[in-house]
Subunit: 177 residues, 2 copies
Amino acid sequence: MRQIVVLRLGHRPERDQRMTTHVGLTARAFGANGMLIAAQDMSIEKNIDDIARRWGEKFFVRSGIKWKDEVREWKGRGGKVCHLTMYGINLPDVIDDVRAAGDILVVVGAEKVPAEIYGMADWNIAIGNQPHSEVAALAIFLDRLHKGRELSRVFKGGELQVVPRERNKEVRRVSHE
Amino acid sequence: MRQIVVLRLGHRPERDQRMTTHVGLTARAFGANGMLIAAQDMSIEKNIDDIARRWGEKFFVRSGIKWKDEVREWKGRGGKVCHLTMYGINLPDVIDDVRAAGDILVVVGAEKVPAEIYGMADWNIAIGNQPHSEVAALAIFLDRLHKGRELSRVFKGGELQVVPRERNKEVRRVSHE
């Protein structure tokens, strides 16, 4: 099974916690296996771990990693690197090639990213060439990669499951006995 | 032409500015006409106005609105209201009905939303039933609504345009003479 890991660059613990948490939750909800954060931030690790435990399936978060080492190691093992940026080639022009590749490291920055990532990535991919959001970009990228199937996936092994309703909130507690 | 407006609930100026800015930019990039914010915040209006002026096409932001009045007025004019929530009916099950409707007000909350919106919405729609991000939810909703066409849209009338590149950043200054 294809491994998909998100690498979050440019995280500043004092101001990016919510945005990086949304990146991580979006990664998880749309079928990635984990997230690496290029800065130390245990609170995000804990926050997302808690959500994954409650809502099911495995998802890892590792902060404080050295991003260049991670990218080199990933490529050394034959994985591909997709950097999401509004300056890249538009998604519809490359998604078939990406889908045909094996393991994928998806790099998303905060406001600025180190220039070197443009050279290290196998693909610099724009989710449209307009400024918007790394959270939106990641969601669209993963949704297209999986041809929309992740929206209907059932997450197993958690404590809670939503029962889709027209009007109310209904959450079912899952028994694993 | 169908009007699409995003209504942002639960915005707290002291902590939601970046998230609400990402909601607005995502709305703009994926084909909405404007955003209403249910709290006063001139800095977001200005920030997104600046981006829209530089990058093209019209997009309005109005903060400090009374959300119930806006919802009622929208429905009074025959528009439909879609509330994005992880507790709703899953997107693939309703998107055809939404696409067949006319003007759409897309309601996205921050962490909590007033319970009344579940009753006032024409549809409560889940972008998957997992917790993730209102930015991701909005992006996927608009992308599916437009059948992916917004990614290739050219935004007219701005000062700047990205030239999609495999490796570098290239931005062209647009002349309107």
